[in-house]
């Protein structure tokens, strides 16, 4: 981990997010998210945004900069600091046919709306038959020296809630296509962006407003023969870096990007294990009862006969994300940790 700054500030110039692409037409992950929101709002006037400081200010990370001018205060709503009611407002308006997208300034603050998320949003349709097409989105994840209350990965909490789809994209094109799918989905979706990726990763993204990425479909990001690294979010980039380094040492690692952590695409994971016979599961969410634990258990249960080595896991311990660079780097899985784990597995 090399970055030492907390990223915030203007995303670029011009109101329409596409105007913020680079000169050669690439979009950062942040701009890709803004494009998805913009295009879905243009497409469907039932879609509206609500959240703290998203209108006049354009959002803490400036994802919704320019949206208020284009869509007006009825569709870009600056709310009081009241997270339970942000979720409740989204649910109640969804019951009346709207398709709300609520921004949490940081995914950490989703815990302030926890009851409305896990009790109402997750459990309402199963008990009532009333669809709740609600998207909750916000920046998650660490590695930007933002310490305990601006760095968490809450995906296990909400994956465990049962009735919420949980998406954690790693690339701009995936972020764009998956957010559009989330907004068009009739179920509640938690869309967890990763703030370390926001301005660090850029690539070409589709111009077609109907180009979607499917929810609950993982993607093999890098083909390999010897070891499968199953991961998602910012850890995909660490895994790809480790895999590149090992290629030169003659070890071929496959990297599977889950993209959606709930419901899980088991098939793509198991197919990869059938090919490599070795599995390393890397997650930025906690180790104990984490996403990685579930993936590892699934592999052990359903691909046992294909395994040549025990399933290995890399993930942070269940403790608050620490601030000091030495502590945070020790806390999060690093490229070197992943490389070492792959080497150990390939030696079996």
């Amino acid at each position: 981990m090399t970055t030492a700054t907390v990223e915030a500030g203007a995303a670029g110039h011009g109101a329409e997010p596409r105007g913020k692409r680079t000169e050669d037409g690439q979009a950062t992950y942040l701009v890709a998210i803004a494009e998805a929101l913009w295009e879905e709002m243009e497409r469907d006037d039932r879609v509206y945004l609500l959240g703290e400081d998203i209108g006049v200010y354009g959002g803490a990370f400036k994802v919704t900069e320019g949206f208020l001018d284009r869509f007006g205060p009825d569709r870009v709503i600056d709310t009081p600091i009241a997270e339970e009611t942000i979720v409740g407002m989204a649910v109640g308006s969804a019951m009346e046919g709207f398709r709300p997208v609520a921004e949490f300034q940081y995914a950490d603050f989703m815990s302030s709306g926890f009851d409305e998320i896990t009790t109402v949003l997750a459990r309402y349709h199963y008990r009532s038959g009333v669809p709740l097409p609600v998207v909750l989105r916000g920046p998650s994840g660490g590695g930007v020296r933002a310490s305990s209350f601006h760095s968490i990965n809450p995906e296990p909490w909400f994956a465990h809630a049962g009735g919420i789809k949980v998406i954690c994209p790693a690339f701009p094109a995936d972020a764009k296509g998956l957010l559009k799918s989330a907004i068009r989905d009739d179920n509640p979706v938690m869309f967890l962006e990763h703030k370390w990726i926001y301005r660090r990763i850029k690539e070409p993204v589709p111009d077609d407003p109907d180009a979607l990425e499917p929810i609950s479909v993982a993607r093999v990001r890098r083909e390999g023969r010897d070891v499968s690294v199953i991961t998602y979010g910012a850890m995909v980039h660490k895994a790809l870096e480790a895999a590149e380094e090992l290629e030169r040492a003659g070890i071929s690692a496959e990297v599977v990007d889950l993209r959606t952590v709930y419901p899980l695409d088991e098939e793509t994971v198991l197919r990869s294990i059938e090919k490599t016979s070795r599995a390393l599961v890397v997650s930025e969410s906690y180790r104990f009862v984490g996403i990685g634990a579930e993936v590892a258990a699934t592999i052990a249960e359903k691909a046992f006969e294909h395994l040549d080595a025990p399933v290995a896991r890399l993930s942070p311990p269940n403790l608050p994300v620490p601030f000091s660079p030495t502590l945070e780097d020790a806390f999060l899985p690093q490229v070197a940790d992943i490389r070492t784990a792959i080497e150990r597995l390939s030696a079996w």
């Binding site: 407002m89 969804a94 409305e116 109402v120 008990r127 009532s128 038959g129 009333v130 049962g162 179920n187």
Partner: protein, 352 residues
């Protein structure tokens, strides 16, 4: 924004046509009979799950819900089944719900008064974490305002739930956005075992409305017409664009928090006084007799009808099939189509 204290309606003032006054008597007496019979079945071990009696609070429940139009939405609690029946729930399906059957409003996915009928009576399916429906009512009310529709959202919670942060979040938000919503607090003086003085440090809940810049009124929840008139005023104000209101309706919870609770913490003399002098069902029945709106024969006929409907509901519930065990995972995701299958099953809960 001064808090008003309503006095009991004048004995010679009839706020509604006779037929509607009789309808209110029907709901009051239905609620009382249902509550007593379900408790008896529960104690006999013939009713699974739980019961949450609304006895003693019928004036609040019927009074507020009767002020709503069909297009208005209601966000109640487990205590407020009477309000849901008044809003239009079908007794048969309610009873199928209590017995965990497929014809219950939740298709066996929830029980007792954790019930709702969004696409029919326009009521929210109840949840236990109070006042969890208050923030949701904000969203429905916002939708009506945004679309310019003449609908109102009404949410009910108990006195204890006003201690929760969400209660304040929702009132504050509704006032900031001037939403068409009516906040009802069914103050039955006890939150499970906790009395009012351990829940809030001010004399009334109604006066808290001033902190949110909305009208607040405290009414006698044992007199249904007083509750109705206050609710009607608040509902119509919201409908006309006048924003949110708070209604505190005071009565006493006659039974325990749930069926298992003997409620020995309620002073005996307080309970006896309420039962003797402030019975919302008897008070109203006597009022209608005095007005000549009904005769004793009418009342007996009404009671016989209610008992017949209860028996029909009970038979319907016991004859309704249990949900298929193999369907346990169905209905979680919209795309599995479960809630759109078998039209009619589940009480009008299918989308569209």
């Amino acid at each position: 924004m001064a808090t008003k204290v309503h006095r009991a309606a004048k004995a010679d003032a009839r706020p509604l046509p006779d037929e509607r006054l009789k309808e209110i008597l029907y709901f009051l007496k239905l609620a009382r009979y249902f509550d007593e019979r379900m408790e008896a079945l529960y104690r006999q071990g013939r009713l699974p799950g739980a019961i949450y009696s609304g006895r003693g609070q019928e004036g609040t429940h019927v009074g507020v819900a009767y002020a709503l139009e069909p297009g208005d939405s209601l966000f109640p609690t487990h205590r407020d089944l009477t309000a849901q029946l008044t809003k239009g729930l079908d007794l048969k399906r309610v009873m199928a719900q209590f017995w965990g059957r497929i014809d219950g409003y939740t298709r066996g996915r929830d029980g007792n008064s954790h019930i709702g009928d969004w696409y029919g009576a326009k009521t929210f399916t109840v949840m236990s974490h109070l006042p969890i429906a208050y923030p949701v009512a904000v969203g429905a009310a916002w939708a009506y305002k945004r679309r310019g529709e003449p609908h109102v959202a009404m949410a009910i919670c108990g006195d204890g739930a006003t201690s929760n942060g969400r209660w304040h979040e929702a009132l504050n938000w509704s006032a900031v956005f001037q939403l068409p919503v009516v906040w009802v607090v069914n103050n039955n003086q006890y939150a499970y075992s906790t009395p009012n003085e351990r829940e809030f440090p001010v004399p009334t809940i109604a006066e808290r409305a001033a902190a949110y810049g909305m009208p607040g009124v405290r009414v006698d929840g044992t007199y249904v017409l007083e509750v109705y008139e206050a609710a009607k005023e608040a509902v119509e104000r919201a409908r006309q664009g006048g924003g949110p209101s708070l209604i505190e309706s005071v009565s006493l919870r006659w039974r325990g928090h749930a069926g298992h609770d003997p409620a020995t913490y309620v002073p005996k003399d307080l309970l006896e006084r309420y039962m003797a002098e402030r019975d919302p069902v008897r008070t109203y029945e006597e009022q209608l007799l005095a007005w000549g709106v009904v005769t004793k024969e009418d009342v007996a006929e009404l009671q016989a009808r209610i008992e017949r409907e209860f028996e029909e509901g009970h038979e319907f519930a016991l004859a309704s099939p249990f949900p298929e065990p193999g369907d346990v995972t169905k209905g979680l995701w919209v795309e599995d189509g479960y809630w759109r299958s078998e039209p009619g099953r589940g009480g009008g809960t299918e989308a569209g």
